[in-house]
């Protein structure tokens, strides 16, 4: 029976501790050994992926990891579908609004034409005829005759048209200083 002579024979010891009774290596060999140890240490100090640690910490099996991955993909797909559905819905609404706008613009054009047609001389004449309106008799200009009237002059004082008894009373009041009577007469 062939056995590996190294199995079970290698002593377990803390890394770096000197083994009692070990063969002492020459100085250059010791230096090489130290260098290789340093390299090993450097390699081990590299940052490790957190997921591995997380997976290890959560003690997830390989199936669970696959489920999570599938779930994540599904979530992304669902999100995409939701976005596409929203876009489609909005596109449909925009289409509806555009159609409404087109209809309203068509109606506006129609109204504009109707307004112009109603204002057109032809329509006005037609409406006038329906309302039994007729054209006035041919106009006639009155001959221009200059008049001897100074329109710039101040207007003449209006004659007093109050009754005689009022005028007499007023003159009496004026003569005897009746300010109130004068005020009443105005």
């Amino acid at each position: 029976m062939v056995t590996n002579p190294n199995i079970g024979l290698r002593p377990i010891r803390p890394r770096g501790s000197a083994l009692a009774g070990a063969v002492r290596l020459p100085a250059h060999a010791q230096l090489r050994s130290q260098r290789s140890r340093r390299r090993r240490r450097e390699r081990l100090s590299l940052p490790q992926p957190a997921t591995l640690d997380l997976g290890r910490r959560l003690r997830l099996g390989s199936f669970a990891r696959v489920y999570i991955l599938v779930g994540a993909v599904l979530a992304v797909v669902l999100l995409y579908l939701l976005q596409v559905a929203t876009a489609t819905q909005q596109s449909y609404e925009i289409g509806q609004l555009q159609r409404q706008q087109t209809d309203l613009l068509a109606e506006q054009d129609q109204l504009r034409y109707q307004e112009a047609a109603l204002r057109s001389p032809s329509k006005v004449e037609q409406q006038a005829a329906q309302a039994s309106l007729t054209r006035p008799v041919p106009y006639r200009y009155v001959d221009y005759r200059p008049v001897d009237l100074n329109l710039e002059a101040p207007p003449p004082a209006a004659p007093d048209s109050s009754p005689l008894w009022q005028r007499s009373l007023a003159s009496l009041d004026r003569a005897f200083g009746g300010q109130d009577a004068l005020a009443k007469g105005r």
Partner: protein, 592 residues
């Protein structure tokens, strides 16, 4: 040992055999390689063909499948009159179509009856289309919105509506005619302006269409939120015309009645704003309905006001005598002896009545429209000066009017005229002009001697049109213009213009009649152009108007004269303008 020797021998034999077969194997391998290469070449060739040769086509096809370029049409500019009343407006119309294969057989009759009742088409005709199993067929084109709304409400299976734009014009002054049809022209189904203003200003009115590149889904629907490249359309510019709708309508109405009453073939009325040269009215009879251009004879689209030439007749005497006065050859008081005829280079030219009038002044020459007087004025003035005068009054070139298809006959060189021919041009025979040229020439007298550029568009997109602000060259002096105005006033007060006297303006009107015979097969016939041109108030003119009636056929020849046929039409339109523009008589005008 023997075994070993025999083995060696066998090996040697085998080696010899293989040695002999080696070229054969090589040939097979080569053949196989060649076949493989050939097959690979075929594949490479096909790949090269599809990926390199057909690259452009395929990539264009691919782009065509997922992208769409939507044209964003530009709104055509509107056309307004001087009071901002819309004369031409774009309205949406609808073409009704059916997809017969989408209409179930059991519903055909229902659909046919419904379409027939809304569109007024025979049921049988609609049924025939529905039974045809075609994929697509139009039932009716360019229907108004009311019809479209009714059909939408009915929600018929397999029936659809296709929106389109159509230019609409206002109703005109006579039956089944649109307002100023010949002047405005129309817009055809491709959206291009044809004839008149629509044709001349097509580029300005139509603007520039935009586009939008967008993506579409598998069903061909536009993905509105996709990445789009967009260029907004540039809408057409609006035009404001110098036209007055109210006067235009009256002119059309009066002209239609006048042409019919005189059993004439056609007629034209042009009214010009004296000081600006803007056309206020532009009426032709017969005209057409621009809303129904598709069912109109092509000949009707031609505008006689700019595209037809005519011999103006005695109206031309205004130009002849103005030039002679300007060149100091004559004065209104200068007298001549008029026996009723004159011989020029062997040809005898007569006055219209061949009467011997003895000694007459040039004012009388114009009042009574004497041809001999016009010829003598030219002879006194000299041919060169007379010819120069024709050029200055605008007869040697187009008027430059801003409407499509103006036609003129180039004025012959002076040397190409025989003396008798040049003599007849003095009274408007043997010279072809278009009505706009003639009106613009007479307007020189009304406008104090300045030539106002005739035009019909005042503002383009809110800015003054170039023709509207064109400089006005001085053709004759204001003094000459004043003298000619007095002579033309005399025509109204004492001469052939008496039919145009308007109450209140009798002393303040200027005008001239014209009657010219038509040339048929090289001979002057009895058919005439009857015309009247005038302006008022003469002391401060507001408008200049030319009325032309072609081939009036009244009972006698004399009844076809300009003062009987055209002058009364001039008066009726002038009365409408006086009322419309509130023109009051100038006080203190003394009779001539």
């Amino acid at each position: 040992m023997d075994f070993a020797r025999g083995n060696v021998r066998a090996r040697a034999r085998e080696a010899t055999r293989i040695g002999r077969r080696e070229p054969f194997y090589k040939a097979r391998v080569l053949a196989l390689l060649l076949v493989a290469l050939l097959l690979a070449s075929v594949i490479w060739g096909r790949l090269f063909y599809w990926q390199v040769v057909e690259h452009k086509t395929l990539s264009a096809d691919a782009v065509g499948q997922y992208s769409a370029q939507i044209v964003l049409p530009a709104a055509r500019g509107q056309v307004y009159d001087r009071d901002r009343l819309s004369l031409a407006i774009d309205v949406t119309v609808y073409s009704v179509f059916v997809s017969p294969d989408q209409v179930p057989a059991r519903k055909r009759e229902h659909v046919a009856v419904a379409l027939s009742s809304v569109l007024g088409k025979p049921v049988g005709e609609v049924m025939a289309i529905l039974a045809s199993q075609a994929k697509f067929a139009y039932i009716a084109r360019r229907q108004p919105k009311e019809i479209a709304d009714k059909l939408k409400h009915l929600d018929l299976p397999g029936v659809g509506l296709e929106a389109d734009q159509q230019r609409s014009y206002l109703p005109g002054g006579s039956a089944n005619v649109s307002l100023a049809a010949n002047l405005l022209g129309f817009v055809n189904y491709e959206g291009r302006g044809q004839y008149g203003i629509e044709g001349y200003y097509n580029k300005t009115l139509s603007g520039q269409a935009g586009y939008m590149s967008t993506y579409r889904d598998m069903t061909g629907r536009e993905i509105a939120l996709g990445n789009t490249a967009k260029r907004d359309p540039v809408n057409g510019q609006d035009l404001v015309l110098t036209l007055d709708s109210s006067i235009q309508h009256t002119a059309e109405e009066v002209l239609a009645a006048g042409v019919q009453a005189n059993h004439a073939e056609s007629g034209t009325v042009l009214v010009m704003d004296t000081h600006t040269g803007g056309l206020v009215a532009w009426a032709d009879y017969p005209a057409y309905n621009a809303n129904d251009f598709a069912h109109t004879a092509v000949g009707s689209f031609i505008d006689p006001a700019v595209s037809h030439l005519y011999e103006p007749g005695s109206v031309m005497k205004i130009v002849t005598l103005s030039g002679a006065i300007e060149n100091h050859a004559i004065t209104p008081q200068t007298t001549i002896y008029d026996p009723g005829w004159i011989r020029v280079q062997g040809a005898t030219l007569y006055d219209w009545d061949r009467a011997n009038r003895g000694t007459v002044s040039y004012t009388k020459v114009l009042e009574s429209s004497l041809n001999v007087g016009a010829v003598k004025a030219m002879q006194t003035e000299g041919k060169d000066a007379y010819y120069r005068n024709l050029v200055n009054f605008g007869f040697a070139r187009q008027s430059g009017m801003d409407v499509a298809a103006e036609s003129t006959e180039p004025l012959r060189a002076l040397g190409d005229f025989r003396e008798s021919e040049l003599s007849t041009t003095t009274y408007g025979q043997g010279i072809d002009v278009n009505p706009v040229q003639m009106l613009a020439a007479v307007n020189v007298v009304a406008n104090g001697g300045r030539y106002a550029q005739p035009h019909v568009v005042d503002l383009i997109g809110g800015r003054p049109a170039p023709l509207a602000i064109a400089p006005q060259p001085q053709v004759i002096s204001p003094d000459t213009a004043a003298q000619m105005t007095t002579m033309m006033k005399s025509v109204v007060q004492h001469g052939s213009g008496h039919e145009t006297r308007i109450d209140g303006f009798q002393l303040d009107e200027a005008g001239k009649t014209g009657t010219s015979q038509m040339l048929v097969n090289g001979q002057y016939s009895l058919d005439v152009w009857s015309s009247y041109v005038g302006f008022m108030p003469a002391s401060n003119p507001r408008f200049t108007m030319l009325v032309i009636v072609r081939k009036p056929h009244n009972a006698t020849w004399i009844l076809n004269d300009g003062y009987i046929v055209a002058a009364p039409l001039w008066k009726r339109i002038a009365q409408a303008i006086v009322l419309n523009w509130h023109i009051a008589p100038t006080p203190g005008i003394a009779p001539v």
